[in-house]
């Protein structure tokens, strides 16, 4: 069972994001980076599939600057077999279409039964690259996946996905793109032997030219800004619960006018 896992490195969720003084992006100094949490689910699921079939490969595919090597090593330490690191100035802050194009170009150079993406990267929050990648490769997509069962002959999968107000179970032929959602699994931690082994695992470095693509932006950002600061409002303290409840409901109706 061969899985290709598209994995993005993103700022730690603890990060206090600040917009730079020109408003062209965020201040990156001092940011600690992590594997996009949804992509971590993907890595785990790919490892479980390989373990279940007792053979196969898990390949990590990342687009991003030098710092991404560290996340790739983390995934290799979890048990993935090798990494592909596309490191090209023209792609490092690309829009989802360009990202999908680069992922597709890299994917077409390797073998896979399934491609995993996260349903969303928690930095830019586009939630687009997975579906776009599937379309560019002309294979089906199943998004927001919480359970995956691959048939013994690896030609199809039964997949559970989140839909509004419930669940949908679908049958999909492989290869396909699955986008991971919370609930899929609990990702493992890298073990110490895993970390040692990861140091010797290969990471293939590539540029846009190696993939034969030129990045032609489809979207362009302007003007980053901070959200309006929320301030502490009225605090009802030291009141008996019935009085506090009465006052709160009154404020919501008469002052905030939301009920």
């Amino acid at each position: 069972m061969k899985s290709l896992v598209c994995m993005k490195q993103v700022p730690d969720t603890e990060t206090q994001i600040k917009v730079n003084s020109q408003g062209t992006g965020i201040v990156t100094e001092g940011i600690k980076y992590i594997i996009n949490p949804y992509d971590e689910f993907s890595v785990e699921e790919a490892l479980r599939l390989k373990e279940k079939f007792k053979q196969g490969e898990v390949v990590i595919l990342t687009i991003g600057p030098d710092r991404c090597t560290e996340s790739i090593r983390t995934a290799l330490a979890m048990g993935a077999d090798k990494g592909i690191h596309i490191n090209d100035e023209s792609l490092n802050s690309a829009d989802p279409f360009v990202v999908a194009q680069a992922l597709a170009a890299a994917a077409s150079q390797v073998d896979y039964n399934v491609i995993f993406c996260g349903h969303r990267a928690i930095d830019d929050d586009f939630a687009e690259a997975g579906a776009m990648l599937a379309e560019l490769l002309q294979i089906p997509q199943v998004t927001l996946v919480t359970k995956v069962e691959v048939s013994d002959d690896k030609t199809k999968a039964i997949v559970e996905r989140d839909v509004e107000g419930g669940k949908e179970t679908v049958e999909v032929s492989l290869p396909c793109v699955l986008t991971s959602q919370k609930g899929l699994n609990e990702p493992r931690y890298a073990s110490l032997p895993g970390i040692m082994k990861a140091k010797k695992k290969p990471i293939d470095k590539k540029t846009a030219a190696d993939l034969g693509i030129t990045a032609e932006a489809r979207l362009e950002s302007r003007e980053y800004s901070m959200p309006p600061e929320r301030k502490a409002g009225k605090k009802l303290e030291g009141m008996e619960p019935p009085d506090a409840a009465k006052e709160l409901v009154r404020l919501l109706r008469n002052e905030a006018k939301v009920i």
Binding site: T13, G233, M239, A256, V258
Partner: protein
């Protein structure tokens, strides 16, 4: 020729409220640009919604039917939408960033060789071009985005844009769907909608959310409050509650859960971690009920009650029931 095309999402036999939000916004944008608004609806019962779309500003309603469109399927819906866009050549295409929209918009965009400005909270026209403002890092900052390709495509966050009636003709035009059945897609085996007609968190107008302070799986106090508020209210949770197994993962609000923006967010027994605040910080009004007066959630809440939620919430429910029964 239509300037702005919106996708009218139908769910469980009903046109979603987000379609009205989109139609109104499209109307505003098209009036600014000097042009028409068209809506596209897909599926067997779609034509019946034309008058509703007209009421909110659609000049034309394209109806596409076909056996492949009887139930939602990504590939065929994307094909149909892309076909309408190719034939009608709108300058701007708008969808809603709903669960279906997130699945459909990027697939459609990729078919057209473009990308979509996902999850916008406001739009404007600048020099004839669409500018979409969208939160990023789960709302820790936002940025304005423009499209470089054509058509310009964007999706709007549900429950943010205002739906305003503005009646237009809503002339129905049927479009014959020519699907490419050679493309592989999934087939639905089972669709289980567990919550009878309840809104998804991302579309709820009121959210009552519980965290570790709930102390266990019993969320009946919060369920009760949500049901007093009615069909547009939903129950959410913090990650602590989800990871403890008290609530399904789909209830998680926050940076690695759902980003929500209801009119009212009631946080019960939630401390207000940076990840949780990221997901609900753009709610219009935030209420916090927490027994710790120092809980960080109070620094962001419009209204806070310092107290035991198990004492305060039942009293609130009594008050709300009396008030809303009036």
């Amino acid at each position: 020729m239509s300037k702005v095309l919106i996708y009218g999402e139908i769910r469980a036999g009903k046109l979603k409220k987000t379609a009205f939000e989109l139609a109104s916004e499209a109307r505003r944008l098209a009036d600014g640009l000097g042009g028409d608004v068209a809506a596209v609806v897909l599926g067997p019962q779609a034509e019946q919604f034309a008058p509703d779309l007209a009421r909110f500003g659609a000049d034309t309603v394209y109806v596409v039917e076909g056996p492949q469109l009887d139930a939602y399927n990504t590939e065929y819906f994307a094909q149909a939408l892309a076909q309408v866009i190719r034939e009608k050549q709108p300058e701007i295409v708008l969808l809603s960033h709903t669960m279906q929209g997130k699945d459909l918009a990027p697939r459609t965009a990729a078919k057209l060789g473009i990308a979509s400005i996902a999850d916008c909270v406001s739009f404007e026209i600048d020099g004839g071009k669409l500018v979409g403002k969208r939160p990023m890092y789960a709302g820790k900052c936002s940025a304005e985005w423009v499209c470089k390709g054509s058509p310009q495509m964007a999706s709007a966050r549900p429950n943010v844009l205002e739906a305003v009636e503005n009646p237009k003709a809503g002339k129905v035009e049927k479009i014959a769907f020519s699907p490419d059945t050679g493309r592989s897609t999934y087939t639905t085996r089972e669709l289980s909608l567990d919550t009878s007609g309840k809104v998804d968190l991302t579309e709820a107008e009121i959210i009552v959310s519980g965290g570790r302070g709930m102390g266990g799986t019993d969320y009946s106090l919060l369920e009760e409050m949500a049901s007093i508020f009615g069909a547009n209210a939903a129950v959410g949770a913090s990650r602590a509650a989800v990871d403890a197994g008290w609530r399904p993962h789909s209830d998680q609000v926050g940076q690695t859960g759902k980003t929500v923006c209801p009119n009212l967010y009631v946080a019960c027994g939630i401390s207000g971690s940076i990840q949780h605040l990221a997901g609900m910080g753009s709610s219009k009004v935030i209420v916090a009920i927490n027994k710790d007066p120092e809980a960080p959630i109070f620094t962001k809440a419009d209204y806070g009650v310092v107290g035991d939620l198990f004492k305060v919430v039942p009293e609130m429910n009594k008050e709300l029931r009396a008030l809303l029964a009036e």
